[in-house]
Every structure is written in structure tokens, then in C-alpha cells.
């Protein structure tokens, strides 16, 4: 596991590269880019994605986890975050993973809004395979749920001012919200790229649906309850390795 900065040297992205296990190097089939979600979900799922990357790399797949610009340890501030910037970062990270893995065969595993960004990124790059984990395709409902949860958040009596462009303490620029609301799943997308969807319900016509229980997602998820069952992780890892 190698933590790295990559991309534009003056404003790099942070990532963690998981080289393939040397015992499987010959069998290495390329790499998998893990595209996290946004905000609280990204924090809740961080350790799970690490665990998944470790499983995949132990079986010969190079993996890269990374933080979007304006999030985590990457450069930038939260007000730079948008669906299009996330998509651009996915493209940048794909380039980095290809170089490090020595292979152009890179798949994407994208979680929640990471899935929304990944689909957006298809305009600029094409993964070998797209794995979507409970992707957010109804951006209006997603944004509405966030805003509703934010209104219900119990706050100190005088916060000294609330930032309008934040929900639940995470930056949520209007431009990002508008992009999410405008998002529409392109028709026939599963004919352009092979897609697997992990989750309790099928959401993409023509894609393979892999049934796993609902993950620790949504605005109400607490850090305490953010646990992904081992069976879910095994199902996802096995499907990617298949």
C-alpha cells in the first residue's frame, strides 16, 4: 500500500495505490479504480474501500483509492467540489493507475455519488468495466434528503452563522447540487460499457444486477452504524475478480 500525491503538482490529488501481490503478478489483469462517494458517506465507507482494495490486490489486481479535489487529503476547498470536477478526477486517477499498473485495462468501482460522477466521466474515458455500488441516479431526491436532514440537525443555539453552501457540515456548492439535479442516466449505457450494479434493487437497464444488502449510506447514517457486512464485501470482490 503506497500513499501518493498525483496529478497537477501545484494542486495534487491524494490517493493510495495498492500494488498487485507479487505472487499474482503474472495473472494481473489490470487495475481497479475505487471511486468513493461524497461527504459523510465517503468517511463511513473509507475503511471498507481499503479492505476491498486489499482483497483485490492480494488476488493480482492493482487498485487505487483517491480523494476528490476539495475533499479528504486532496488539494482544494469544498467549494470546488462538483460532479464535473469529480468526473475529471476519475479520469486523472485512471491515468495514474494505468501508469502504475502498467496496464490500460482499468475498471471502476464507484460508490453512490461516485457512481454518478463515474457515469459523467464516461464522456471522457472508458473503463474496462463499470461496477456501481448503490449509485445515485436521482440527484434531486439525494439533494433533497441531504437538505432535509440538514434542517433537522440539532445545532447550538448560536452557531455564529451557517454556511448556505454546506449540508450536515460538508460543502455542497449550489453548482454541485444543480449538476446532481440535472443528472440523467444516458439511455443504453450498458451497451457502451459492461456494467454490474451492486445493491438491493436493479437500477440500470441491461446491466448485471448483483443483489447485496443496502449499505451504510444516506444522510442519517451514523459513524457507529457504518458497517458493511463481510458477506457484501466478499460478493463484490468475487464479482470483480470473476
Amino acid at each position: 500500500m503506497i500513499p501518493i500525491h498525483f496529478g497537477d503538482k501545484s494542486a495534487p490529488l491524494f490517493g493510495v495505490f495498492h500494488p498487485p501481490d507479487t505472487a499474482h503478478r503474472e495473472a494481473c489483469q489490470g487495475g481497479v479504480l475505487l471511486c468513493n462517494s461524497y461527504g459523510r458517506e465517503a468517511i463511513c465507507i473509507q475503511r471498507t474501500l481499503r479492505s476491498l482494495a486489499e482483497r483485490l490486490s492480494a488476488r493480482g489486481l492493482a487498485c487505487l483509492r483517491f480523494d476528490y479535489r476539495g475533499s479528504g487529503d486532496s488539494s482544494g476547498t469544498g467549494d470546488e467540489l462538483s460532479l464535473s470536477s469529480m468526473a475529471a478526477d476519475i479520469v486523472e486517477a485512471t491515468r495514474e493507475l494505468s501508469v502504475r499498473a502498467g496496464s490500460r485495462r482499468v475498471g471502476w468501482l464507484a460508490v453512490r455519488t461516485g457512481g454518478t460522477a463515474a457515469v459523467t466521466a464516461l464522456e471522457r474515458a472508458r473503463p474496462a468495466h463499470l461496477y456501481l455500488w448503490e449509485p445515485v441516479f436521482d440527484g434531486r431526491a439525494f439533494a433533497g434528503a441531504l437538505r432535509a436532514a440538514d434542517r433537522l440537525l440539532e445545532r447550538p443555539r448560536d452557531t455564529g452563522g451557517k454556511c448556505d453552501d454546506a449540508v450536515l457540515g460538508h460543502p455542497f456548492p449550489r453548482s454541485f447540487e444543480e449538476e446532481l439535479v440535472r443528472f440523467a442516466l444516458p439511455a443504453g449505457i450498458a451497451r457502451r460499457v459492461p456494467i454490474d450494479v451492486f445493491g438491493p434493487t436493479p437500477v440500470v437497464d441491461g446491466a448485471r444486477h448483483v443483489n447485496v444488502s443496502a449499505g451504510p449510506f444516506g444522510p442519517d447514517t451514523s459513524y457507529e452504524s457504518a458497517v458493511v457486512p463481510g458477506a457484501t464485501l466478499t460478493t463484490i470482490a468475487n464479482r470483480i475478480l470473476a
Binding site: H5, R50, P156, G160
Partner: protein
Amino acid sequence: MKVCERVMTFGTRNGLVGILCRPEEEALRAAMVIPNAGNLPRTGPHRLPVEMARSLALRGIATLRFDVHGLGDSTEASGDADPGRQAALDVMEALDALTSIDRSIARRAVLGLCAGADTALAAAGRDMAVTHAILLDPPLYEAATPARSAPWNPGRLMDRRRRQRSLRPAVTPNHVSDLPGFGVQRTPLPGEEFASELESLARRGTRVLVRYSSTVGKGLTGPTQVLDSLSGYQFSGRLTIDVDHTTDHAYTEQTARIRLFARVTRWLLAEHAPGS
């Protein structure tokens, strides 16, 4: 002033992962280590450690925010050490790694939020190099009987006769099971140990800033209440208590985070009388 960041791996087998954040060219005025808040990855709640690091770097303060063993991007601990003890050892490793970039840095600080405050206190107690400790929402203690409704009961605390009769200088954990923990069940020090630890730090010259949010400090009207509960101990003016009712435990609002950064910077860089 420009800020630069680089990845640092350190500790046994380079198993600890963190981000060094510092001013690009300016001389360093202080160095500070920030371990995890609870079980969260090092980027913390609402990216607080990241924003703080970049803000402090603009004032000449280098930071190393990092994951202790078993969290975030760091490896699992190799031995069977108690997790709390291991985390404190990790903080000491981090401070060593951070100060290795400039051994002349005189002000060496640790900052912890929530369970990270417990870790920071334990590390400061073990590491004589720590000159400043910042504890954000460490456990709040009250006299003997736990309050039934509120985590803090000022009336009970302020009952001097009762405190002196049976408790002085004892302070005991009150609402352990209700402590906000960012995914971890906190097991705070017994109150007497907490107070003794603070006293030991003060005695050796380490300054401590304890800051309570409205979540943990609910019911507190000000620092005096806390200091009063610690009246049996000597801090020689090196203990500062803040009570900030305008923020919650997770520093959810950006405005609260900005105020925190300013407060920490001001406190850390404050000039003190020689020998004080």
C-alpha cells in the same frame, strides 16, 4: 505564504500514514500532531484536521495529521498492546517524525478531538517533548453522582460542601456511555487520573488548552465551573479552559471551525512570561 503538503510514512515498518502540512518557505514557529478523532480516518469530521492544518501552516505551524495503527490508511498494530496505549505511542512516533524536519522547533504540540483528546493527553503525559496539548471535548467530569438528565449538572458541581466532604478532589466520569465517540466507545480516564495528568503536565511546564463544545459542555456556563471542580490541583496558570456554546462536538459549521483555528493559533503562538 504558500502551503505545501507531502505524504509521510513512519513508525515501525513505515506502517503509519500521515500528511505533513507546512509553510513552503517560512521558518517554522511550532509543530503539531493531530491523531484520529474516534474511529474516523485522519481527515476527521467535516475535514476539520485538513482545514486546520492548512490554516495553521499559513501562520508558520507545521502539522502532521495521521492515522494511528488500525485506522484509516495505517496498518494494524503488530503487537497486542492496548489500543489506547498503542495510539499514544503512535502519537509519539508522529511527533518524532514531524520534528525531524526541523529539530529547532521549540513548540511541540498534540491536538486531539473526542477520543483523539484522550490519545493526545496520554501521549503528552508520556512524551516529555510535548510543550502544548490541545484537548477538544475530552471527557467532562462532575462530582460523584451522575446527573440523571443532563451530562453536566452545575448545581451539583458547585455544591462545595458536598464536593469537599466526599469527593474532593475527586472527579468521576459521569456519562461514559453517552459520550460522543465518532464510532468508538470511549472509556475515559477516571476523573482523578485525568486531573492528575493535567497537573503533571503543568508541573513540567506543558501548557494545556481544554475546549468544550455545546455537546459535551452542555449546561456549563463557563470555564470557572470546570476549574472549580479541579480546585484541588495546581496548574500554575498553564491550564486554559474554553467553553464554546456556539459549536457542536463535530464542529459541523464552517464558522465554528474557523473560530477554532484562530483560537488554536493564537493560543499556541502566545508569548508567555519566562518560567511561567
